[in-house]
Symmetry: C2
Subunit: 286 residues, 2 copies
């Protein structure tokens, strides 16, 4: 059963066939109407919500949605003990001044930009643990997945906030530059000292909590309009249909508190002379 | 609620407390009895199987297990059309000779070693799409997750085969070197031409199918002993309790056929001038 790329005419025929046989239609919603043809038997499948209506997101699925635990302690702070802890805290604090200066009180925009950075550590850590697991023929204790889940959760934060605040061209350029620097720095940092890297991320999450608390103040004082929650957020966090931006910020902040716990915990494991794989990872810790 | 690292005495007290309060015990199964202490409120949670017995794996969870679709067409082959396709096929074919030479007919060992390589493309592709999604403020269409799922599935292949064939020191050294080269090559390759990268992976998977078919021949002709399936494989692919190595090789081969489809399909999407995100990803395509 060999297959080769079809020419235009055959493609057209295939398009009709695949209506029932598992073809994949372009789902970009752009102006390009051309269907993507496949004989690889791959069908994305019909996904429905609990109420039977069609699931409209392809970037996440119903079984990845959850109700955030907003009861989590938002004040918890890891008091730096070792020199390395202090360097980690100082690193994060010193990054805050330029951020404050740049964004001032535009918290929607700030949230969006910060999420492009927040999604880096989980992906880098998860990837490095994956390659370590392969090299050493060792189980990961679930930490690869836990860190990748964190990265995905942060990406969902970004997908949410970009519905509320559209990035300007110079902000896109800034994200490009910051990602290049931060990816490489975190990659090297994690290779050299995972305990330091997780501590930095823990403190970053503490700052994120602070930032979202300020965001809520602005909303409550009416300086930022409490618009309806984006549809993607309603589906992802299982929010009520009439949820607002305020509700979204509350659940996102709860997520950050969970990331804080996971990363400080991961750092603690290293500090206690263990490897992450020795302690089962907190999968699905929301 | 500030927390600092506890000293040894306090740690001991904490250890008792956390028995019920969500502390995490070392799960490495090594000789080190010291529990890992946490005040981060993180508990891995009790996970049970369908029959109520305790789930014993922390590197994967019951809801990630599946029954492989062994009906899949194993013969499908993408006949190279363009020059790039031919380079991709030639690259893979030329890698086969040294592999054949090195492993000869030791298919168990070969499978184990090849899985350390096979788990690279999905992770690299998923990571690069993740960072692209962040940089461009764009949805991924589920492809990040689909590629990361592939990487995880390959890692499970490795975790399975390493139960059957223990790597020797020079094989470990080889894996180290090959991973270093292949990670960087695939990273750069994916950045320059994702359609080429996915095509290479598609052909790699075709070779993997071939290799597992040879493995089955050796088993059927009695040259490799058909030992009982490793416990991890029985749980991951929902195999019967009396499953054998042969059953494992059959489901792994089916997985490779699915990876082949996904990667050739991804390459086709690029060839047709689209981006992956325009076509919903085949999540959970096993
Ligand atoms: Fe976030
Ligand atoms: Fe976070
Ligand atoms: Fe594999
Ligand atoms: Fe594969």
């Amino acid at each position: 059963a060999s297959t080769v790329a079809l020419d235009a005419k055959e493609q057209k025929e295939e398009k009709v066939e695949t209506g029932s046989a598992g073809g994949v239609a372009a789902g970009g919603g752009g102006s390009d109407e051309k269907a993507i043809v496949s004989y690889w038997g791959i069908s994305p499948g019909k996904v429905t919500k609990e109420d039977g209506s069609e699931w409209r997101w392809s970037c996440f699925r119903p079984w990845e949605t959850y109700k955030a635990n907003v009861e989590i302690d938002l004040e918890k702070h890891h008091v730096p003990v070792t020199f390395l802890d202090k360097v980690a805290l100082w690193t994060v604090k010193s990054l805050r001044y330029p951020t404050d200066l740049f964004f001032q009180r535009r918290y929607g925009c700030r949230a969006m930009m910060l999420e492009t950075v927040a999604a880096v550590p989980g992906m880098v850590g998860g990837m490095l643990l994956h390659f370590k697991s392969l090299r050493r023929f060792e189980h990961s204790g679930g930490w690869i997945k836990a860190l990748l889940e964190e990265a995905e959760n942060e990406r969902m934060h970004l997908m949410t906030f970009m519905e509320v605040a559209k990035p300007k061209w110079y902000e896109r350029a800034l994200v490009f530059a910051v990602q290049g620097v931060f990816f490489n720095a975190y990659f090297l940092g994690y290779l050299v000292s995972p305990k330091f890297a997780h501590r930095v991320t823990g403190y970053l999450e503490e700052e994120a909590i602070h930032s979202y608390t300020e965001f809520l103040k602005e909303l409550d004082e009416g300086r930022i309009e409490n618009v309806p929650a984006p549809a993607i957020a309603v589906d992802y966090w299982r929010l009520p249909q009439d949820a607002t931006l305020r509700d979204v910020v509350v659940v996102v902040r709860a997520d950050e508190a969970h990331h804080r716990d996971v990363n400080h915990f991961a750092s603690d494991i290293h500090y206690q002379g263990h490897e992450l794989k020795e302690s089962p990872a907190p999968l699905g810790y929301h």
